[in-house]
């Protein structure tokens, strides 16, 4: 298996980070190192808890779902109902935004129009259900409702602007 240089550099940097954290925790009892190491391990746990299943489902989507279905519902000529599909898909998910990039890439590869890809990313970043329930708890439903009211047209507009630029997939 070939390893690309970016992975090696990334793993090296991770090693350096962990070394400095360990050094700071054991020898300096450094508060900064303890906090950084703690949150890094917490995020790592979250990543390995949510993302493998996300990628397994992307794999299933990639192999099982025919291109025609994606093109018909969210392709270039799908019509505005596609916006609803993308928002629904985004709302039902959880996890950080960087988990949505591979999903977007998989959709794009199957023929989903660029504008809908970016509407999906927009909806994912601002209106996931788990996040909304949290927001309502701490800031009240009025704040959430008004934020959504203003945010919805903004990210749909951004989607349409981005749709003019072709989203291309590197992987």
């Amino acid at each position: 298996m070939k390893t690309n240089p970016r992975s090696i550099i990334s793993l090296g940097a991770t090693g350096v980070f962990l070394f400095f954290c360990a050094w700071g925790v054991w020898f300096g009892h450094n508060d900064f190192a303890i906090r950084s190491a703690n949150s890094y391990l917490g995020f790592l746990k979250e990543m390995f808890w949510v993302l493998p299943m996300m990628f397994l489902l992307i794999g299933v989507f990639d192999v099982w779902v025919p291109r025609e279905i994606v093109e018909r519902h969210v392709g270039e000529d799908a019509g505005p109902i596609a916006i609803l599909w993308m928002i629904l898909l985004a709302m039902l998910q959880a996890g950080p935004l960087y988990g949505a990039f591979p999903v977007a890439a998989a959709l794009s590869k199957k023929g989903c129009a660029a504008k809908y890809i970016f509407i999906y990313l927009g909806a994912f970043s601002v209106m996931k259900l788990p996040m909304l329930s949290f927001e309502i708890t701490f800031l009240g439903w009025k704040f959430s409702l008004v934020r959504l009211m203003f945010t919805l047209p903004v990210f749909i507009t951004i989607g349409y602007i981005m749709g003019r630029h072709r989203a291309y997939v590197v992987q």
Binding site: A13, P52, L57, W64, A94, T137, M162
Partner: protein, 154 residues
């Protein structure tokens, strides 16, 4: 938890339908995952460091006044930092209770949600730098507009 359970059910159903196709899907999914783990790790390190620098106490001090300069600071912090929701929303609630304006709190939250400077390398890996920068730039402008509009209305 629920997400993983539903995922497992879907995988089991696929496996019952077509064993070989499912094995191929699983293989493809896991390969995609392994390939991005190292870069993901870098993003997590950046998030961890930024969280250690910008503790909630620190942010409460920084975002306590309502001058335009503080609004700009809130936008900058929101854009760069990647603070998870369970830290950010309680913090925003405290800021509002302490008398911060809606505009400032909304600006902080909307940039936090919509703009991700730290995750730019990941985004660029999938869409290219031009697209990633454009999306974040437009999102930033949108976030500022949303914050100003919310300040007017609430």
């Amino acid at each position: 938890m629920a997400f993983n359970l539903i995922g497992l059910c879907i995988l089991a159903a696929c496996f019952a339908l077509d064993r070989h196709k499912t094995i191929r899907s699983v293989h493809r999914g896991l390969m995609m995952f392994w390939k991005i783990v190292p870069e993901m790790s870098i993003v997590l390190i950046l998030i961890s460091i930024s969280l250690s620098v910008l503790t909630p106490t620190q942010l409460r001090q920084w975002l306590s006044a309502d001058t335009p300069a503080h609004f700009v600071l809130a936008l900058a912090v929101g854009s760069v930092a990647l603070i998870p929701g369970f830290v950010a929303f309680p913090l925003a609630g405290v800021l509002l209770k302490n008398g911060a304006s809606i505009t400032l709190v909304a600006g902080f939250l909307t940039t936090l949600l919509m703009v991700g400077v730290v995750t730019l390398p990941m985004e660029a890996r999938y869409f290219g730098w031009r697209t990633a920068l454009l999306r974040n730039g437009l999102s930033f402008i949108g976030a500022v507009a949303i914050a100003l509009a919310m300040g007017r209305l609430l």
